[in-house]
Amino acid sequence: MRVGLEVDGKARTADDVEVGESLLFLLRERLGLPGSKNACEQGECGSCTVYLDDEAVCACLVAAGQADGRRVVTVAGLSGDDGLHPVQQAFLDAGAVQCGFCTPGLVVAVHDLLRRTPDPGDAEIREALAGNLCRCTGYEKIFDAVRAAAR
């Protein structure tokens, strides 16, 4: 099947998409946009978090066909040409990036959290990010980044 969608503001099309393919596969392998990461492909780790229209989702759990005619924003779409998004900057400033594999998904998840809750408390931060695994940081500096970006 042919899937047409908008990714980070640009119209994209992919042909010969299989029924069982995920949006993550479509983005990474068919469109060559590896910004969303492939850690578990089971919706457990959040590394592939993107916006589908305005909802943050795990791209691995969305069938590619479901994205037809819709708008996807990945981590790459959050920063403009004029520099980094404040959430991205906060991750850098706080030292919240180590290996960085979880970072793209976490940046989108934090972006989504702050959009909904501009000044989250610690418990809200923990709850909102519970679907994003990080194996390097122990999360402490990610929490620092969220608090810094909220300011």
Partner: protein
């Protein structure tokens, strides 16, 4: 004998983004934008996709492998089996005992038997299903005790004992007023790095191969691959691709040889990416351990002897079992003065998943054992758990179980006091009504505080830094200084693996400090430069940092020589100062740009730490270790004693790092190490039944989330070493070592139960 005398720790002057500063990661911007290329992101025109045929049996003889049906599928480009391995069909870090593709026998469930290449991943997956392998099942050996007894089938020539380390020191035990014994067990933990095993192999014009992969040690991969591929090492060129975490799990080869074989056979770039389930099967794990301890002490709790019997299940292949057993044995009594020791540590082959390196490397398992014993001893003597540790703690000059004197800082007592003195987290409200998210069971809303008991526990630990036992351990670095435009730029080139720990940052920091050049480029790590050794054993900042520093010293010498000529003055009295070389004698100076106008300065240096010796095979005595690092943990837990649910409330860690080259990166290592310790204590275990992994997914193998991670308190000591660059000590492993022991102790304090096994499950606390 010291091969290269490292300079003694000097006073380091502050340089912007230099040593000791919170310099930013050079790869940080790409990582937050999603632009950073991890190994699973690599692609190439005309590439083929590789996939692996794996054994469903834990132990079986291979009768036939039929590939014709798979090979006939449209889009399939190659199907390779053991006969297609051109070189030696064996690899391994310590013993080359593991087949690239199983030839005769499979020894664990999931062992690779064949690899396929196809035009797309789906076709590759289908082709895997069409490879017909006929097996003749053999008796499976999945109990390490039976493997040790010799009653099971021998899995390798020479039997099933990989190593037996005996350590004997002091007079036989006698006259102990207090004796405590215990049996302890540690489950199989997984590194669970997020970036899956993956690589891209490109056939090269000279008949060789160029491999872009995530690994912890490019040169040891190169050496093993060259032998398997029957190529000279210079025709197997490796470049480090972005590494999504490692923690020891990338020391062994996984996809590398398979992708190279497929690239060489098809003449096309070959890409391999494991899914999560395959990743759990495709790399080695932390050795599960069974430990028997006997501690004897006087009436005041001072240790007289320790007897320890440790059995590690190494699984089907040796990997690093020899060295892991070495560490578990060497550190079996912990950071304590013990006049008499009798330690036997054995690692055995079984048909379980192969085990190898994971952060902490044998020292984690025994720490749970010896610290559990120290708590038991405190209770038997009737003193405080911290006090019993203080009475026995090693200090500089103390003797370890191996007879080696501790030469560097050994602030065990101070680390313990520091965690003890930190304020405790607030208690739960006595009247109930706590935020349920802060209670055991959390948002599952299983309790409102009834049946919840709080406990506090302590642990201290010791770990060797760098490679031990006489290993010729070194690091190589090349530093080049030149002019680009109007700016002086330094570049650093090493083969050292950045696995997330921040090595790329500290390499640049060292150059800025040594040469006062703000603009530093860290080149991609590859095998075009000399060996850096492994990014493990908490050694890479010490070793590659030392090499970078030495290369900088050589570059500075060359610049001073040029300045001496230009200024017609002797070198002595000249010094580098902010982009110029200044003569204190005459006040003359020359701009570095002028000195570099004709030709760059380029120097390569090799750094070695002091040499060590192997342990005596009979007594286990010897100066086997370069250096020791220490950490102390205090854990606070809440346990729902009715449901067996544990919430780790807080973990405090005090650690001596010698010198924090990059303080936020040190904190990051400490937070991350604590998180893996929390995981091992209460949730992380690869469940293996009859040799098969039951939970190879992030749905079923649980690593701590934001809801599971406690708040942390850190205290970083900087007691400089005399023998390392800037006085530093390795920082990667200590934050993990005693965290599980402290958490287990806290659970004991909360419940009054023995807690002889980690991870602690609800069943274990309620049955």
């Amino acid at each position: 004998m010291t091969t290269v005398a490292p300079p003694a720790a000097p006073a380091v002057t502050r340089t912007p983004d230099g040593v000791g500063e919170a310099a930013r990661r050079p790869d940080g911007i790409a990582k937050v934008r999603g632009d950073f290329a991890f190994s699973s992101d690599l692609r190439h025109d005309r590439m083929v996709w590789g996939a692996t045929v794996r054994s469903p049996h834990v132990h079986a003889r291979i009768v036939t492998v039929e590939v014709d049906e798979a090979l006939a599928m449209p889009g399939v480009r190659a199907v390779l089996t053991a006969v297609d391995v051109p070189g030696v069909n064996r690899f391994g870090l310590e013993q080359r005992d593991q087949p690239v593709l199983a030839d005769d026998v499979v020894r664990y469930a999931g062992e690779p038997v064949a690899v396929v290449a196809a035009d797309d991943p789906e076709t590759a997956r289908r082709a895997v299903e069409r490879v017909r392998v006929t097996y003749e099942p053999l008796p499976a050996l999945t109990d390490p005790e039976i493997a040790l007894s010799g009653d099971g089938p021998p899995l390798h020539e020479g039997g099933n004992l990989v190593r037996h380390l005996r350590i004997r020191r002091g007079a036989p035990r006698a006259g102990a007023a207090v004796v405590v014994t215990g049996e302890y067990e540690v489950g199989m933990q997984d590194q669970a790095f997020l970036g899956p095993e993956s690589c891209l192999a490109l056939p090269a014009a000279d008949g060789g191969v160029e491999l872009h992969c995530s690994t912890q040690w490019l040169h040891v991969d190169q050496e093993q691959l060259a032998a398997c591929l029957a190529l000279p090492p210079d025709r197997v060129r490796l470049t480090l691709a972005g590494v999504g975490g490692a923690f020891g799990g990338r020391e062994d080869l996984s996809v590398q040889a398979h992708a190279c074989l497929l690239a060489l056979r098809t003449g096309r770039p070959a890409r391999m990416v494991y899914g999560r389930e395959e990743s759990f099967v495709g790399h080695v794990h932390r050795h599960p351990a069974r430990m028997r301890y006997e501690h004897g002490a006087d009436a005041d709790g001072r240790l007289l002897y320790v007897k320890a019997d440790i059995l590690l299940d190494g699984g089907a292949y040796a990997s690093t079992s020899h060295a892991v057993a070495g560490n578990a044995g060497c550190f079996a009594v912990g950071p304590y003065e013990v006049p008499s020791v009798e330690i036997d540590c054995r690692a055995v082959y079984t048909n379980n998943p192969p085990c190898g390196a994971m952060r902490g490397f044998g020292a984690v398992q025994v720490c749970f054992g010896y610290e559990s014993q120290m708590d038991k001893l405190a209770a038997a003597v009737g003193i405080d758990p911290v006090e019993v540790r203080l009475r026995n703690a090693v200090a500089t000059g103390s003797m370890m179980a191996t007879g080696q004197r501790i030469e560097g800082p050994a602030p065990v007592a101070e680390l313990l006091r520091r965690v003890e003195e930190m304020p405790l987290p607030p208690s739960l409200p006595a009247s109930g009504g706590a935020d349920v998210r802060l209670l055991p069971g959390g948002v599952a809303n299983t309790t409102h505080g009834e049946g919840v008991r709080r406990g506090v526990g302590y642990g201290v630990s010791v770990k060797n830094i760098c490679k031990s036992g006489g290993y010729d351990d070194f690091g190589t670095a090349r530093v080049r200084v030149g002019v680009a435009g109007d700016e002086i730029v330094a570049s650093v080139h090493t083969a050292a693996a950045e696995v997330g720990q921040g090595l790329v940052t500290v390499q640049a920091q060292i150059v800025r400090t040594e040469l006062e050049i703000p603009s530093v480029v860290v080149l991609p790590a590859d095998t075009a430069v000399g060996d850096a050794g492994t990014s493990s054993a908490s050694r890479q900042t010490w070793m590659s940092g030392g090499a970078v520093r030495q290369a900088c010293v050589a570059v500075r010498g060359r610049l001073l020589d040029r300045a001496a000529t230009a200024l017609a003055e002797p070198v002595t009295g000249l010094r580098l100062a902010g982009g110029r070389i200044v003569s204190d004698r005459s006040g003359q100076s020359v701009d570095l740009r002028d000195l570099l106008a004709v030709e760059d300065v380029d120097e390569t240096a090799v750094f070695r730490h002091r040499t060590t010796e192997p342990l005596d095979p009979e007594t286990g005595q010897g100066d086997a270790h370069v250096a020791y690092a220490f950490a102390a943990h205090r854990a606070v837990v809440d346990v729902d004693v009715e449901l067996g649910l544990v919430r780790v409330v807080e973990v405090a860690c005090a650690q001596d790092v010698g010198k924090a080259i990059n303080p936020p990166a040190v904190e990051g290592q400490m937070h991350g190490g604590i998180a893996q310790g929390v995981g091992l204590a209460v949730m992380e275990e690869i469940k293996v039944r009859d040799g098969r992994i039951l939970n190879p997914s992030f749905t079923d193998y649980l690593i701590p989330t934001t809801m599971d991670m406690p708040s942390t308190r850190l205290d970083i000591l900087e007691l400089p070493r005399a023998d390392s660059p800037y006085g530093l000590t390795g920082v990667g492993e200590p934050p993990l070592l005693s965290a599980p022991a402290a958490i287990a102790a806290a659970i004991r304090a909360a419940t009054g139960r023995e807690v002889p096994r980690i991870p602690v499950t609800p069943d274990a606390l309620t049955s």
